[in-house]
């Protein structure tokens, strides 16, 4: 199923995506983020999202739809899109086997060296603010080639100069076995890439309606900014239709509240 039954894909429309949108507020941020994530997953054979990840989940499902059957997607918490039959450890075994091509990590704090903190603010262990914990980050970040950093909040509170606790480091010394790491950072403002040799993020594109200055103002660490920063390419009409008419229903199985909020029309129709 490489095309939607409703509207055929029309790649040539990509060059002028905005013209496909009937109105500026037609595109929701969640839909844009799902689109960006799907693009970052292109060429993957097996991807998984973690718990509490509706937007990454949507991105995975869209990427699968666009892969023409070449990509397999595991949505943690889904029954329909579950590929795990060997218990909770299987996801981690995939990673070490080299089978898991992409995963997603968030973080209470992410710093300029792509270090991630999921544990808390203040002195460890008696943190001032204590978050749930590191989950699988201190492992998957090392072993999954494309780890996509994703937060729905782009502020200096999240993107800090230096994390208070390194749940998992962005880079490692050469003697450390590491086949994976940060591949991109996606936020409601922009998309960044990461240069592991320079240990530094760089701006890839800024979403329409936002500016480089806004990104820099809200980022607590230094990033490389090219002379020309492209505007993020929006999803074309066909992609948006697929998201709304198909991915919306698929993600609703695991995230009904999210789907009801973001895709009220699709949910009401279903």
């Amino acid at each position: 199923m490489n095309s939607s039954p409703v509207v055929a894909r029309a790649p040539q429309q990509r060059s002028d995506p905005v013209s496909d949108l009937s109105a500026p507020d037609d595109l929701r941020t969640e839909e844009l983020l799902i689109t960006l994530i799907a693009r970052l997953l292109e060429g993957c054979r097996l991807v998984s999202c973690g718990a509490s990840s509706p937007i990454p989940g949507g991105g995975c499902l869209l990427a699968r739809q666009q892969s023409g059957g070449a990509m397999q997607v595991n949505v943690l918490g889904s029954r329909v899109n579950n590929l795990m039959t060997n218990g909770g450890v299987e996801l981690f075994d995939w990673a070490a086997q080299g089978r898991l091509d992409a995963f997603f990590l968030g973080g209470g704090q992410i710093d300029g060296q792509a270090n991630i903190n999921l544990v808390g603010v203040g002195d460890y262990p008696q943190a001032k603010i204590r978050w749930p914990g590191s989950f699988g980050s201190a492992y998957l970040y090392y072993l999954v080639p494309r780890v996509i950093l994703f937060r729905e909040e782009h502020t200096r509170r999240v993107f800090v100069e230096k994390v208070d606790f390194v749940s998992t480091p962005g880079t490692s010394d050469p003697e450390v076995y590491r086949t994976g790491g940060p591949h991109a950072l996606v936020s409601p403002l922009c998309q960044m890439g990461f240069d592991k040799d320079r240990k530094k993020f760089h701006l890839v594109s800024v979403h329409p309606g936002h500016t480089v200055e806004e990104v820099l103002d809200n980022t607590g660490f230094e990033i490389d900014v090219p002379d020309q920063v492209p505007e993020t390419v929006l999803p074309d009409r066909a992609t948006l239709d697929i998201i709304r008419q198909q991915i919306s229903l698929e993600i609703a199985e695991t995230y009904p509240r999210f789907a009801a909020k973001v895709f009220p029309d699709a949910m009401n129709a279903a």
Partner: protein, 279 residues
Amino acid sequence: MTGLVHDSVDSLAALIPDGAKVAIPADYTGIAMGLTRAMIRRGVRDLYLVCLPTCGLQGDMLIGAGAVKTIETSAVTLGEFGGAPRFQAAVGDGSLTIKDATCPAIHAGIQAGQKGIPYMPLRGMIGSDVLASRDDWKVMQNPFSDGEDPIVLLPAIKPDFALIHAKKADRHGNIYIGLRREVMALAGASRQTLVTVEEIVDGNLLRDDATATGTLPALYVGGVAEAKQGAWPLAFWEEYATDEAHMTSYVAAARSPEGFKAYLDEFVTGGGARAAAAE
């Protein structure tokens, strides 16, 4: 095995002594909440709680009730209901010893327990503060590598008890765990597994291929009790959903020690109608 079926969750809870090392699974596996309430009723103390690999309401309630001395976990969270209030408070005031981990490290420790080996090597973790905070983990050169190749060694985790909720058991003590295969490792590593089930059924789950494939054999089981809606207020497999209203009220109550105590009075220890109805 004979004599594994208990009449009540309180009878199961009585098997767990103070100071026991108790392993609990993540919410998706099936949480023995009825048994957890019974443990709080009995007043169990000083538990070493191992979460495979995370926990939620179960851990928060045990911590709030003062039953936990040490917790080893990769996360404590109430998911879409937010952070775990009693956990956060106990970490903040230093009354709880926390051993932060990462999910596959706890799986590996439990698998080492299951295999009866003293430790298991695992990739990742090097350079993280998770590793830096664990003086019980070691980093050693991989002896099969010619070049420099440090790897983390995780000691086996061998709990006294594993606590799970499952769909059904037979009277021999065999437990249907279906897709929740992590229970096999948890049970193998633990001295005994205490189980609550939605239903106790006739026959033998091991005899029929269709059920045997998803069955934890009784030889791992220390006791089983029927507890209908035994994961309440949590969701259980595809069987029933989270009681969202109850969870919301829990989170509100558990923000303060007083609110948490009132919650326990009402739903766990009070002996009132709602506490009794909970089991």
